[in-house]
Symmetry: C2
Subunit: 329 residues, 2 copies
């Protein structure tokens, strides 16, 4: 069965292919009865316009590329969900790219994106260097970055100010004289951690102190849990802040094993909130990061950049919600 084309429809309806094209694109200037004739033919033949050919002719694909890191798919998943939901509204298809450490370099992805002539790209990735964005820009692909604040002519961004988040949080503790605060790193997300560290250091500096307890989990440890067990044998803090839920749970479990009372002796807070935090006992304090919204707003911003020529607000800061639970006093 040969795939049927606009030409077949034209013949069937006894009109020119130009007319068929007008009908399927909802052009106003077609007489009612010819429209019906065409629609019947379309129906009868089961014709579906070839998006590839349309893309070629129109010089636009109505698809946009989304780049995310392979890791931490739970958080990423929400971003994708938000993203796709609004992409749908605007009828955009989305092609998904993931950057796998060592396997798929960003460069290759950029390359295929350029070749595929997507209308725009949204990038949620830490290992993001300006260089690569510039290549995209050179090929005039509109870009929205998730997670990093940045913008210029063709790039917009949607982000949460993690530095401010942790600055405010820690300052409150420092105000109350609680100084032994530790931050558990996450190698998977260095840029994010960078921000957290900056915020924390600033909070300490503003209190005339210096931040010292940055817990970097050595590469050789398979899970942060194993290392934290080790670490907590010889180190005690009043507040431990982790990036991921799994790290917070590791700290909590270790504390339990060691008979450290949470939150009385040790308080725990996690940056990235998740439902699992609420399932732990005691429930762990977290910050609701608007992951879904990051995706949704990014896509929304992109459509704006695609359609409105006038200047729009290219930097969107989204806010988090502090969600105190039982692991903090």
């Amino acid at each position: 069965m040969k795939r049927i084309t606009i030409y077949d429809v034209a013949k069937e309806a006894d009109v020119s292919l130009a007319t068929v094209s007008r009908v399927i694109n909802g052009s106003e200037v077609v007489r009612e009865d010819t429209r019906l004739k065409v629609q019947e033919a379309v129906e009868k033949l089961g014709y579906k316009p070839n998006a590839i050919a349309q893309g070629l002719a129109l010089q636009k694909t109505t698809t946009i590329a989304l780049i995310v890191p392979e890791a931490s798919f739970f958080y990423t998943g929400q971003i994708i969900n938000g993203f796709i939901d609004v992409a749908k509204i605007y009828k955009y298809n989305i092609v998904l790219h993931t950057t796998t450490e060592g396997i798929t370099e960003m460069g290759d992805i950029i390359e295929t994106i350029i070749k595929s002539h997507v209308d725009g790209v949204v990038i949620f990735n830490d290992k993001l260097n300006k260089e690569e964005l510039n290549i995209l820009t050179r090929y005039q692909v509109p870009i929205v970055v998730i997670g990093n604040r940045m913008s210029d002519e063709t790039v917009g961004s949607v982000y949460v100010d993690y530095a401010k988040l942790i600055y405010d949080f820690a300052s409150d503790y420092l105000d109350r004289g609680i100084n032994s605060i530790a931050l558990v790193e996450d190698r998977k997300n260095m840029a994010m951690i960078r921000q957290l560290r900056d915020g924390l250091e600033k909070a300490f500096a503003d209190h005339g102190k210096q931040f010292e307890h940055y817990i970097a989990i050595p590469k050789e440890y398979r899970s942060s849990y194993l290392y934290l067990q080790e670490y907590m044998k010889t180190n005690r803090h009043q507040l431990m802040i982790t990036y991921r839920d799994s790290q917070a749970m590791a700290v909590l479990n270790t504390a339990k094993e060691m008979g450290i009372a949470v939150p009385e002796e040790l308080e725990i807070a996690c940056i990235l909130d998740s439902k699992y935090l609420a399932m732990a006992r005691p429930q762990i304090t977290g910050f609701k990061i608007p992951d879904y919204d990051l995706g949704a707003v990014a896509m929304r911003l992109l459509t704006k950049m695609l359609h409105d020529d006038d200047v729009v607000e290219k930097e969107c800061e989204l806010s988090y919600i502090y969600t105190p639970r039982k692991s903090t006093k």
Copy 2:
């Protein structure tokens, strides 16, 4: 800056566009010096072949569509990861579609998929009726289904036999005279639950008994946790099996609150294993479902169907790994 085409390169290198085409496609029959001349021009101009135009000319897009449910993105995320990893190997792009309850009907997705002329589609979705697959088949799009066993000329499938999984698991308990077994449903994944129920019923039947404790969580409950608390006040079982990790944790937490000893008085097992199961205390028994592999094998199967004309094994059953932990005796 006008997007530069094969024609520009041809002019720059002073050859015909056919030659340029040969070079970029690695045709052997080009003389070395012309090849170099062309490559220089490509480099100088920053030329990237237009995949859309190639798609039109070649009648193939090297992209495949992946349909997943929006919900439960953790498990889904792994499938996507596996899927993408092997798609990369074969240089396929992937366009992602999600079926949102009430918002995006499968029908619409099928429609856009047909229009976009992807080379194949992989579907991981419960609400999957044969009807819709047939439409795809009619337009000769090769399909691989994840999760349901089925196949014919143009469709293959990759799945785990949940019925067998739970049959074996429950039988072992029944053999030992443990009959009070309950299954917690999950409304999000009815087809899966159907299988579990079938397996359980069969196990009971084969032991001359009847399975009775199917715990359906009423729609009005926001979280299964709230309902399970309620339920467990008046119902006691020896073994409770849940589908998701969150449900297992809800059962565990409730048991703790009520002073029910796990696993002494109540055993808990979860079908879909996750790292969170290992973080609970006691750690919860689960079955490692090869989610990543489901995605990877599906994509692998699809490429086979795309390239090899000869018959291949169209049904792949993947096996789970029983992972006993502290919540079972």
